[in-house]
Subunit: 447 residues, 2 copies
């Protein structure tokens, strides 16, 4: 983190317009920290700070900003300044920025770039959002099969300044198809006259550019990769995804899952920076939808109005029973959703998981029925105690099984299973809980 | 993933005890995939598969197993086999395994190892669980300040086979204090006669061994590091944390946060493998606790029993109003908790966030009051419509502010703020919702 002294010095030097001090200050701060500082300034001021950095470092800091801030700054920049930045940015980051710019800015940038870079930007920017292609980089090192180790090291040295990683080297055949991967470690340890074909790893993990970026992140995490090669339909190498991009994707996915579980819509901006308007929009739809779901619970209650008038004591246990079903259901759905997201469970295991949940939920329901039976007796006598205990068991069981099943059903119809955690499961469990409770009450109280 | 054909071939070769085929098969499968296959076998069988691998690859596959499976296999191994494995395992993984073994196994292993490795295991295994020290590795490359680039490359070549990463090289002064870091990329690009002191990066990010491992993962993600150096009180280098360990920590943290948000206790095993007993234990405590929290809601209702008898229609809106407060609260708490976990917001921003939430929640409450007022009028006339609308506004507002505040309070007293998402916030919002509803009803209906 940037220190308080550094912030104070920055503000002081900016106020005094002391170029020499500023140049020294900004180069000493970690790029990620300086980016955070820049993001919290007004665009003109942020832009001014960036200009004190040499071009390489400026592109580096700019890369840490996030697309929203990048676009705000890009609007303030001259055509020349922006296209210089474009040349030095990582290929994946500049493609994202390109997609965020206005059409006029885009055209003016493309005009100023060399043909090769223009095509690179167009190609990377053309992948649909959410695909591996949309997060991949084209700054990597390739070698042709048949090269020897000494030549290979020369190529790596030559490419090093421009590649995002030189630690994984990708080996292509004459058709540009990916045939192997070689780590710099393997290369350094190999004899100079050996052929790289002998040294490279042929059993490699790769991904198609149209697969989801979450799948790319999962592969990188599962196989502990530094960089995952991305291929097209013909097994030709079209890009790489590096471990640091995978970390960002995994973090964004976990955040989105948690938010969805609390019925909050997705967003690209951080919670700290989010506007009142966007927070309202992301939250209101589900809340209102859940209101109407809960009106169904109310309708269930209205249906039993006469019984409630006869046994007002039943109302006393209503929130408790209904909440217990929702809580057990939300536990089951959360376990399922996270298990599916981390790849710990698969959809084919559903049968076994259902039976296990049936057993676990039965024990949970029994425990909670025992916990509540005494209060039932105290408040309403033996019959009410029975109603409450049986209802608790049934509601916890049904709630848990709904929580387990719903994520699977959503996955089957192509929705994000994370939608099923939290309020949605709770609301469904609520409605069913009300019906179970009053049905059991009707049968035991013989109303 | 391991293919169906590979699994079939493995089973066939095992049944026929065909060593040659097995040796070829296991070496072609990715270590992570083979580990998954081994984990799903009985220990004796899993052990047998591992023996078909050369020692290096065996240690690699073993490292992917997870501590629980490792310990089960270790119990089946001979002393010699296990200590051979120990020599070839990554230092961080073997320290974790060591901590999972029985005291007898530990002593027998230590006796068979060289002094240096014995001390390394003892040292790494001594850090408290959850600290950076407990996940760090001691297999890294160091250089003394003052070395030249050509010498440095020699050292790297020499150390490469045993180091976890050779892509980040750590530079120490004569007191063994960390003074700089050099990437292999920088080293390869530098002139052979240059001093590494000129080439290395001096503004480095490091962490103390007693800091939490989550903080280490956050630093690695924030600064896009390959390896984070870990230091002691004297700034001496004692270990490194690599990016792949950071990914595992971040994934485990997100899982734990989500589970805690659904009131599920933590666990080291995956959901797919979890036993009925452990699932019951992790879920029952909070469920029963929440039962007693909800009894308070019931008590609130009991207090207003006479009013309910007079206006049964109020019960119709009870689940709806109470759930809305809980839902809004759970949205606010989830946004806060995730923002705190990703470092997107800080505890010092609380005041600003509170005011923003006050405005957002007011709009949300108004929208929901409008959504419900018609049904209130239809079911109970103008007075009930008023009660329901005012209650909705007040309950959503209060629920949201509780959801925002609770994670901060928990953080202040040293608890995990993730405890505050889901059922805990919902239960508190429930109780307060019941009280608000009937208080407003009492005042408007002049009961």
């Amino acid at each position: 983190m940037i220190s308080v002294e550094q912030v104070a010095s920055l503000h002081k030097a900016m106020a005094e317009d002391d170029t020499l001090v500023l140049e020294q200050l900004v180069i000493d701060i970690q790029p990620a920290d300086l980016a955070e500082f820049v993001r919290n300034q007004l665009p003109e001021l942020g832009l001014k700070i960036l200009t004190y950095l040499p071009l390489e470092a400026r592109a580096d800091v700019f890369g840490y900003l996030g697309v929203a801030s990048q676009c705000a700054l890009a609007e303030e920049m001259t055509e020349k300044g922006l296209s210089q930045l474009f040349v030095h940015m990582n290929s994946d980051e500049r493609a994202d920025l390109f997609n965020g710019l206005s059409e006029i800015k885009r055209q003016s940038i493309l005009r100023r770039l060399a043909k090769e870079e223009r095509e690179d930007i167009r190609r990377l920017a053309s992948y649909e959002e959410g695909t591996t292609g949309s997060v991949m980089s084209s700054d990597y090192v390739t070698l042709m099969a048949g090269t020897d180790v000494a030549q290979a090291l020369e190529v790596v040295r030559h490419t090093a300044p421009n590649a995002e990683t030189i630690y994984q080297i990708f080996i292509l055949n004459e058709k540009k198809q990916l045939v192997g991967v070689l780590s710099l470690r393997q290369l350094i340890l190999a004899k100079p006259e050996a052929l790289i074909d002998k040294e490279m790893t042929k059993e490699l993990v790769s991904i198609h550019a149209n697969e989801t970026r979450e799948e790319a992140a999962r592969l990188i995490s599962r196989y502990d990769l530094l960089a995952l090669p991305v291929v097209d339909d013909n097994q030709c190498l079209v890009g790489i995804v590096t471990y640091d991009d995978a970390m960002d994707v995994a973090e964004a996915e976990a955040t989105e899952d948690m938010h969805r579980g609390a019925s909050i819509g997705p967003s690209n901006e951080g919670f700290g920076q989010a506007s009142i308007r966007s927070l309202y929009t992301r939250r209101v739809n589900w809340l209102v939808l859940l209101v109407f779901a809960n009106i169904l619970s109310g309708a269930g209650i209205a249906f039993y109005e006469e019984m409630i008038e006869a046994y007002v004591v039943l109302v006393f246990f209503l929130p408790l029973l209904v909440a217990s079903g929702g809580n057990a259901g939300s536990q089951a759905s959360t376990l399922m959703i996270r298990g599916l997201a981390t790849g710990d469970i698969a959809i084919k295991n559903w049968g076994r998981l259902f039976i296990r949940e049936l057993i676990v939920a039965s024990f949970l329901g029994l425990t909670m029925a025992v916990a509540i039976i005494g209060i039932g007796f105290w408040r309403g006598g033996i019959e009410i105690a029975q109603v409450v205990a049986y209802s608790m068991l049934a509601i916890v069981l049904v709630g848990s099984l709904i929580g387990l099943t719903l994520p699977f059903l959503l996955l089957k119809v192509g929705w994000d299973p994370a939608t099923a955690s939290g309020p949605l499961v709770t609301s469904i469990a609520d409605i069913i809980g009300v019906l179970i409770y009053f049905a059991i009450a009707t049968s035991i109280l013989a109303f």
